[in-house]
Amino acid sequence: MEFTTNNQGGELSVQMSGRFTFSDQEKFREVVNSVEEGNVNRCMLDLSGVEFIDSAGLGMLILLNDTAGEKNVGLTVRGAQGQVRKMLDIANFGSILTLE
């Protein structure tokens, strides 16, 4: 998984690409940190470049959502497609996260 972040006036956008799996847990900590520590009001996580996600990846999305909730950061997850979209639907993430 690769990601880029861009914070514009408290609006953090995170663009992820590649495979988002158990091998990315260390890297994803940086994403969680940027929501936790940064000057962030809203976070937009764009998954349109992600081609494969596993249950560890789903778990990391939950964790990011929980962290955002604790910090009063509004999180929106958007752009999921293909296998990623399917996984979010199977896990019923629409009822847990704000999906676009």
Binding site: F22, Q25, V32, D54, S55, L58, D66, Q83, I96
Partner: protein
């Protein structure tokens, strides 16, 4: 297989090809499995035994006519104990350290190799990749590294989880543990077994819908036609329609 064998025997002899593994280690491996190894690569199935952890090894090991790959970075008395008999019986597979299974997208490599070798449909290939990914995750994190999965439910715990994983991947007693991914196919069925050398587990996990972990086995059950937990939780068997 020689024709004058008295006992009923269907196994073929497996030849061992070396890629960077030193002579004594290869000799010790062949000696331990003398009953089923030793054929000429041109005659029977062969297994690539490698010491480096280059991800390209996985594709080499799974490309015909080879039937598998055995990672042997340091002497290991358990090396080949599951893979070689499996290959002798006609199966294919990889026997890797947990550290390599963590790093090298093994599920993707195996699923892709099986598309050509076992003629998996595109739909089955995708189910196989995800199910293997989940089974390998369990074998690596719980079976081999023995990290507490509950840690991942909080941001603080997640940091501890990642740090523990990172540290243990480097420790031979955890990261050096063997994870085997075995495959066989016949008729309309393809079967996989994922094995670890950990403490095992019992009973199905209970998962809350918004928990950050614990979905792996449920996903596998939804994807596979049959799932079996064997050997006290150290062997997960999954069958799919090809």
């Amino acid at each position: 297989m020689s024709k004058d064998t008295a006992a009923p025997q269907t196994a073929a002899r497996v030849s061992l090809e070396t890629a960077g593994v030193d002579g004594p280690a290869m000799a010790a491996l062949a000696e331990r499995h003398a009953a089923i190894t030793g054929a000429d690569a041109a005659e029977g199935p062969s297994v690539l035994v490698f010491a480096d952890n280059d991800a390209a090894r996985l594709d080499e090991a799974l490309a015909p006519p080879r039937m598998g790959g055995l990672e042997l970075p340091v002497p290991d008395p358990s090396a080949g104990d599951r893979l070689l008999p499996w290959v002798a019986q006609g199966g294919a597979g990889l026997s890797l350290t947990a550290a390599t299974a963590y790093r090298d997208e093994v599920a993707r490599h195996v699923a892709d190799a099986l598309v050509t070798r076992a003629e998996l449909s595109a739909e089955t290939r995708d189910s196989v990749e995800l199910a293997l990914q989940e089974a390998i995750a369990n074998a690596v994190f719980h079976g081999s590294l023995e990290v507490d999965p509950d840690l991942r439910d909080s941001a603080e715990g997640f940091k501890a989880f990642v740090e523990t994983v990172d540290a243990r991947l480097e420790q031979p007693e955890y990261g050096g543990r063997r994870v085997d991914v075995l495959a066989s196919w016949a008729g309309d069925t393809v079967e996989f077994a994922v094995l670890d050398r950990g403490p095992g587990y019992s009973g199905p996990p209970q998962v809350a819908p918004n928990a950050a972990h614990g979905r792996g086995l449920a996903l596998i059950a939804a994807l596979a036609r049959h799932v079996g937990v064997e050997e006290g939780g150290r062997r997960l068997v999954m069958r799919f329609q090809r």
